[in-house]
């Protein structure tokens, strides 16, 4: 990707996490991939200032303990984490979920395809978008 900052992935399913890792690799994205199993784990990582700030967050919505929407609400109220772009990567096709998350300022909403090849294409789209779009320089 554009920089060497890590990619934070919130994903509770091991196979899905593997899929993301593999799809990123297949798309020649070699940034560090940090996988957290739910919102609480991810927040803990983000709030620890010794950790490097992620370049992007790939967010699953259905997770145990703290789900994606709850996680979004918290980082959107945190001045320091506000500017990190978040792409929702979910199985949910619910209109309500789309509305809720876009209101919380996500950069994109991608539906996980059942077909792996499709999924690789999605990650590629994210990569392309990432490379073209400009993002604010992080202060953290």
């Amino acid at each position: 990707m554009k920089n060497s900052k890590p990619i934070l992935v919130l994903e509770d399913d091991i196979v899905d996490a593997m899929t993301v890792r593999r799809a990123l690799k297949e798309n020649e994205i070699f940034n560090d991939v940090i996988i957290k199993k739910d919102g609480e784990d991810a927040l803990q990582y983000l709030q620890d200032e010794s950790n490097e700030r992620p370049a992007i967050i790939l967010l699953d919505l259905n997770m145990p303990r703290m789900n994606g929407v709850e996680f979004l609400k918290i980082i959107r109220s945190d001045e320091r984490l506000l500017t990190i772009p978040v792409v929702v990567l979910t199985t949910s096709r619910s209109e309500q979920d789309k509305i809720d998350t876009f209101k919380l300022g996500i950069a994109g909403y991608m539906i996980k395809s059942v077909n792996y090849q499709e999924f690789v294409k999605i990650i590629k789209t994210i990569k392309n978008y990432w490379e073209i779009s400009e993002f604010p320089e992080s202060k953290g």
């Binding site: 259905n62 949910s92 619910s94 209109e95 059942v114 077909n115 999924f119």
Partner: protein, 644 residues
């Protein structure tokens, strides 16, 4: 007393003179004595009346006595003039005493008379003092009376001021009104009252109300039990100045002052309409009959029950509920109608608390021992003392329809809950079922990719089937979600320009080259959820494409306007559907061809129908198998579920 003392003094002097003379005894003394005696006599004579004791005879006798004494001797001759003198003196004293006595007597009489006179005078004086006292008292009384009268007048003035508003109200009334104090004295009346009697209003002020009509006195005399007359209408007769009679209704009310004490009585009058007896009776009976007819034809049961539970009146319609006829019910206890005594007690308790109740549910004893569920709408009537006097109300049978309504309402409520549960269920399961599917698919894909060289062609084919099946199942799960989502998700409505929307749809759908789509022009805009109407057309066009069996496929989209709705149709020249399957194709997951031949979930038409019916429309099919299929549907104008 002085007189007596002086007489005794004289007497004493004479005696002493006599004793002196005895010692000297010469004739000169005798002469002197004689002279003295004469002198005495003359005094006596001059003092007494002629017929007194010193008449000439007595005088002569005393002279004789003198002579005798003179003759009786020599010593005798010397003393006798003194003796005579003594006797004379003695007589003189007696005479004086007698005179004194008589004088005293006279004085006494005079004194008595004087006393009597003065006594009389005192009495007269006392009497006059008494009268004066009484006069004074009377004056004081008059003064205090005057003062109290002044005070009353002041009070009255104040009251009059306070009642100015009342007076204005009385003036403003078009009915004759009179205001009296508690003694029945008219303190105010309006022009209407005065003119009714041919007088000026001022003529009545200060007069007793009983002079206007005798019943007035009765009202005034029974202030303490005013429930006898207050708010009751009396028929009274008053007289006009010219002698004609006013037949009036009159109604009185006691007015209370700021301290809640009775202050005055307001009486209003209203002329009794002059209708001839016969006419009014006929008219009255007619209205009564009409009213009764209405009363008898009302389905609801109207009733009045005394506060202790006895039926005063009940309408004929009770016969539709109870075996007991109306006539027998009157006078009986209300509770005999109730299926449950407790219910009646609870109802009365609730009514006493609330004063009136609406649609209170009770059960009455029906015919042949059945129980009839009813509702009561009732009101508590209060008497003049604000105490409950009776209950009036209406009873309505809870009809079969109401029951059905109740059941269906409950069913709708239950359904809402079930629906919500189902949606939650669909959402959660779709996610949870899809995850493992996706994992299977992904892992199979990796095996295929990584081990491509090691796998036989057969194994590769089976792996591909595995992948396909996971995808199919994924689609089925999505279909369930989409289908349930139609009900659960309510998007925003907007004006959808149909021609524009359909053009966009065609671009997005990648229509095969052998199929052409013709869209009728000038389709009116629909006020609808855009994504939903789009889905309807997408699914229909997709079906036509999917099942197209002709080399040159044609899909025609047409519309027509009806008064309250729009009709649309999507017609193709494909294989069509045998009418016997019309019902089946609208069911979820029903397909007419094996999924392996035509990959499809079997949800397209089910979703279309779901959307159309959700917004109050209707959908139907027309087909000639082999020649094509026409799917037609209507959408109410404004596409609004609420308006249906």
């Amino acid at each position: 007393m002085k007189q007596k003392l002086s007489l005794f003094f004289i007497l004493f002097a004479l005696i002493s003179i006599f004793l002196q003379a005895q010692e000297t005894s010469n004739s000169n003394d005798f002469d002197a004595l004689m002279q003295e005696k004469t002198k005495h006599d003359s005094i006596i004579l001059s003092q007494t009346s002629p017929d007194n004791i010193f008449d000439p005879n007595t005088n002569t006798q005393s002279r004789v006595n003198y002579n005798n004494m003179y003759r009786s001797g020599e010593s005798m001759q010397k003393t006798w003039p003194f003796l005579i003198l003594l006797i004379i003196a003695f007589i003189l004293v007696i005479v004086l005493l007698i005179i004194q006595f008589s004088l005293r007597k006279r004085l006494k009489t005079i004194q008595m008379i004087e006393e009597k006179k003065s006594q009389h005078k005192t009495r007269t004086l006392l009497k006059s003092i008494e009268t004066q006292k009484q006069d004074l008292l009377r004056l004081r009384n008059i003064e205090s009376n005057y003062r109290s009268m002044q005070a009353t007048q002041e009070q009255l003035k104040e009251k009059v001021k306070k009642s100015e508003l009342l007076q204005k109200a009385i003036i403003a009334l078009k009915y004759p009104v009179v205001l009296t104090n508690l003694h029945g004295i008219i303190i105010f009346c309006n022009l209407e009252f005065a003119e009714m009697h041919g007088h000026k209003a001022s003529d009545f002020l200060g007069k007793k109300i009983s002079t206007v009509f005798p019943e007035g006195a009765k009202i005034m005399n029974t202030i303490d039990n005013r429930q006898d007359w207050e708010n009751k209408v009396l028929k009274v007769v008053t007289r006009h100045k010219n002698g004609t009679e006013n037949n009036l209704y009159c109604k009185s009310a006691l007015l209370l002052d700021a301290d809640n004490k009775p202050s005055s009585i307001l009486t209003t009058f209203d002329a009794i309409p002059e209708v001839s007896q016969d006419e009014s009776t006929v008219e009255y009976e007619k209205t009564c009959k009409e009213k009764l007819k209405i009363f008898e034809n009302i389905q609801d049961v109207y009733y009045e029950v005394s506060i202790n539970g006895y039926i005063k009146e009940i309408s004929h319609s009770i016969s539709k509920i109870s075996d007991i006829p109306r006539e027998e019910l009157i006078g009986k206890e209300m509770k005999i109608l109730y299926a449950n005594d407790e219910q009646r007690k609870n109802f009365v308790a609730a009514l006493k608390k609330e004063q009136d109740l609406n649609d209170y549910e009770i059960s009455l004893k029906g015919k042949n021992g059945s129980v009839v569920p009813c509702t009561i709408t009732a009101r508590l009537l209060l008497d003049d003392d604000k105490m409950p006097s009776s209950i009036v109300g209406s009873i309505r049978k809870i009809s079969q329809r109401n029951k059905v309504e109740e059941i269906s309402n409950k069913a709708i409520e239950d359904l809402k809950i079930v629906n919500k549960d189902l949606l939650d269920f669909a959402y959660i399961t779709s996610h949870d079922l899809k995850s493992p599917l996706r994992a299977i698919n992904t892992l199979a894909n990796w095996v295929m990719m990584d081990e491509e060289n090691k796998m036989s062609e057969e194994a590769k084919g089976q792996m591909q089937l595995l992948i396909n099946r996971t995808e199919r199942m994924h689609n089925l799960i999505d279909a369930i979600f989409d289908y349930t989502n139609i009900v659960s998700f309510e998007g925003e409505k907007s004006n959808v320009e149909m021609n524009k929307m359909l053009a966009g749809l065609q671009n997005r759908m990648q229509i095969p080259n052998n199929i052409s789509i013709k869209v009728q022009e000038n389709i009116p805009s629909l006020y609808f959820e855009k994504s939903r109407i789009e889905q309807v057309f997408e699914n229909l066009i997709d079906n036509s494409i999917k099942f197209m069996d002709k080399d040159k496929g044609l899909i025609v989209i047409e519309w027509a306007e009806r008064p309250k709705e729009y009709e649309f149709s999507v017609t193709d020249n494909g294989p069509g559907i045998d009418p016997k399957y019309f019902d089946k194709v609208f069911q979820i997951f029903q397909t007419l061809k094996p999924r392996d031949e035509v990959e499809g979930v079997g949800i397209g038409l089910a979703i279309v129908r779901k959307i159309i019916t959700k917004y109050g429309g209707k959908i139907w099919l027309k087909s000639e198998p082999g020649k094509g299929l026409a799917v037609s549907f209507i959408i109410p104008k404004n596409g609004n579920l609420e308006s249906v």
